[in-house]
């Protein structure tokens, strides 16, 4: 085997130092500040861990099938008869009704913004600004909106329309709470749907149109099926957010104690978050009630947190798939 002789100006042996270079001079301040910011990151992660662990550890013992499936008597803190079933049902139903309203409106709005809206139009910009503003409105203001618009205006007028003797629609009810939440989570659905629509390469739309499909057909047959996982993510995020919110339902339908589960849209309902709030701030003997409280918090956390993780997981998988599409 021939070896190539190196030309004379190269050293004969490689230097003893080898090829390891220090990336940079050791700088004290650099190290310090890197350390500080790293600590900041750790601190934040630590807070997250502490909160989650604290609730998990303290609430774990109180959790049982019995707990989840019982309707409690008036004394919530009687360990033997307590349960969170009506709260779980209340939380779930209001979120479910909300989804029926928010998904169609949100998806259609996102479709308009991505597929139809001319980019230079003022109307488009106003719609986008409105969506962003909705996202920033404080949750208690939504509660006021629910009270001032849905209950006092729509509800009262409905009562007049149906000639109801007393207030049937014009009072706090499941439907109004659900609608208020729908308005609140609208931006979440719109943003998630838009994101998933934009990720679809335009070549697909062109291919469909070139085959003689109308724009609507293209959207319904090619674009939407592709965007479905992203839309689902949006729905799940909206659900998770709404399940944890208490402020918007304070005046629009939640009750501290209902003897039975809600059955009509005009019923009031119990709620996990509200229960936690009332009991934490108003219970007399905190040591006695602590374990049950923690268990309730754990149930709420599992509900909302688990949903969040599912949504993030789906989103990550969709991103991988779309990268393959190119």
């Amino acid at each position: 085997m021939n070896t190539i002789t190196p030309p004379e100006y190269l050293p004969e042996k490689p230097s003893a130092q080898g090829r390891h270079f220090r990336a940079e001079k050791f700088d004290f301040w650099s190290f310090c500040f890197s350390g500080l910011t790293g600590l900041a990151t750790l601190f934040i992660l630590g807070i997250l861990a502490v909160i989650l662990l604290n609730i998990l550890i303290n609430g774990w013992r109180g959790l049982s099938w019995h707990f989840i499936s019982t309707i409690p008597k008036k004394d919530f803190f009687d360990v033997n008869t307590t349960g969170v079933l009506p709260m779980i049902v209340g939380t779930t139903i209001r979120v479910f009704v909300m989804t029926i309203f928010v998904l169609p409106v949100g998806v259609i709005t996102a479709i308009y913004l991505t597929e139809y809206a001319p980019n230079t139009s003022i109307v488009t910009r106003v719609i986008r600004a409105a969506v962003n503003n909705l996202a920033g409105v404080p949750s208690i203001v939504f509660g006021l909106f629910g009270l001032g618009f849905f209950i006092n205006f729509v509800g009262k007028n409905l009562d007049t329309l149906f000639h109801n003797p007393g207030a049937v629609w014009g009072q706090p009810a499941l439907i109004w709470a659900a609608l208020t939440l729908a308005v609140m989570t609208l931006p979440v659905v719109i943003v998630a749907t838009e994101e998933s629509l934009k990720a679809i390469p335009p070549g697909l739309r062109e291919a469909s149109l070139a085959l003689g499909a109308t724009k609507l057909e293209t959207i319904l047959k090619v674009v939407l099926p592709q965007a479905l996982p992203g839309i689902m993510t949006g729905g799940i995020l909206a659900v998770s957010r709404a399940a944890g919110e208490v402020a918007p339902i304070l005046f629009t339908g939640v009750a501290y104690y209902m003897a039975s589960l809600p059955t009509h849209l005009t019923d009031q309902f119990m709620d996990l978050g509200y229960q936690i709030f009332v009991l934490s701030t108003q219970s007399p003997n905190i040591d006695q009630t602590r374990p049950i409280l923690y268990a309730t918090v754990l149930v709420l956390l599992i509900l909302t947190f688990a949903l969040n993780i599912v949504a993030i997981f789906i989103r990550a998988r969709v991103r991988k798939k779309l990268r393959a599409l190119g």
């Binding site: 940079e24 509660g143 609507l216």
Partner: protein, 381 residues
């Protein structure tokens, strides 16, 4: 000859497009409606049409006809709907009831100068007043009782205190972490840490408030040793927890979107990673970081449950170790007790309208800045 769209050929398609457009306008409609209906309940306060003065000039029922309908409605403290639904007989008997009420006010109370005051006038809402029983002019929010005091300044102070504490706590942490994750750590760290911190925003605020109430309050009191266990300081820190993910997320995006070219140029000149981050990248990303803070501010102001669970009393004090009430918690806590249509109710709505206006403005600012950032990322760069 131009290009015709030929929609005559497909009416269904055209209809569908119009329908989609109409639905999309709903977002604008909602923002408009929110403002309209929240402000609507508060309008009488804005226009000074409410009167909570206890001692009013008694108008005998016989003189009912000398009053205009509007005056009569206000005298009897009726809502427009109620007034419209009543006939003359009912109104007259109401006037008699009112006369009895006014006659029943005890004499010593009648001499109390406060009893003649319309406490919902702007003067009393904003400026300090020397109420009877107090030594000097005070700002007092105390809607419960014979003489309802509606000064909103303590609420603003409370909101500000708690929000600022929250931001002082959250901004350095969040921005520091953003700098670390985006500039100093290894790339795969970002993939793990970023979503994890965003998970923090998935914890409902009730739960954060619960944690603050049960665990943090005692813990912090042990460390700092102050008097009131449940105070603005604790609330502020808990609020910070909720706000950190918002600020982190946007600040990190802003830092990452600074062009690689800047970083590489600095490193090639021999700057250390820290110097590059602090002197080159951060200044370039400043608009985005600023926007993140503004949005965090908006979120902090609007937060209700955390502060509601931690603080309870409305104390007008600049000390962060006293309890405080914010605007949001006041609305949340007192709406249930407020008589529908009454002055308390209306003032709470007014606070809501002011809050909406404040977050609207801060949102617009944050958004304008973020938009410019996006344009830099996509196009103009």
């Amino acid at each position: 000859m131009g290009i015709q769209r030929g929609h005559r050929a497909r009416p269904l398609e055209w209809l569908a497009e119009k329908f989609i457009f109409l639905v999309s306008l709903s977002a604008i409609l909602m923002v408009f409606l929110i403002f309209l209906f929240v402000a609507r309940e508060a309008l009488p306060i804005f226009f000074g049409k409410t009167d909570t003065a206890l001692v009013q000039k008694v108008i005998p029922p016989d003189e009912m006809d000398t009053l205009s309908p509007a005056q009569l409605q206000q005298y009897l403290e009726l809502t427009p709907e109620q007034f419209a639904s009543m006939d003359k007989e009912t109104l007259k008997s109401l006037m008699e009831v009112k006369q009895e009420q006014l006659d029943e006010i005890p004499a010593n109370f009648r001499n109390d100068p406060d009893a003649r005051v319309n406490t919902t006038e702007w003067r009393y809402l904003l400026l300090p007043h020397k109420w009877s029983g107090y030594d000097k002019p005070e700002y007092i929010w105390q809607p419960v009782g014979q003489i309802q005091k509606y000064n909103i300044i303590p609420l603003f102070v409370g909101t500000l205190k708690i929000t600022l504490i929250g931001l002082f706590f959250a901004v350095p942490l969040a921005v520091g972490a953003a700098i670390y994750v985006s500039q100093l750590a290894r790339p795969h760290v970002r993939e793990i840490v970023k979503p994890t911190i965003e998970l923090l925003s998935g914890i409902p605020s009730v739960v954060v408030g619960f944690f603050a109430l049960l665990v943090m309050a005692t813990f912090l009191q042990k460390i700092f040793g102050y008097q009131t266990r449940l105070n603005a300081f604790v609330a502020g820190i808990a609020l910070g927890f909720a706000v950190i993910p918002v600020i982190f997320s946007i600040a990190e995006d802003a830092l990452t979107s600074v062009p690689r070219a800047y970083t590489q140029a600095a490193l090639a000149l021999g700057a250390s990673r820290w110097q590059t981050a602090w002197q080159i990248v951060l200044p370039a990303a400043l608009p985005g970081v600023f926007a993140a803070t503004v949005l965090g501010f908006g979120r902090a102001i609007g937060e209700t449950m955390i502060v509601l669970m931690v603080c309870s009393a409305s104390v007008m004090s600049w000390s962060i170790f006293d309890s405080a009430r914010s605007i949001t918690t006041t609305i949340a806590a007192e709406m249930a007790e407020a008589v529908s249509g009454g002055p308390h109710y209306r003032i709470l709505f007014m606070l809501g309208a002011l809050l909406f206006a404040a977050t609207f403005v801060s949102n617009m600012i944050g958004e304008v800045v973020i938009n410019r950032l996006k344009l830099k990322l996509e196009g103009r760069r």
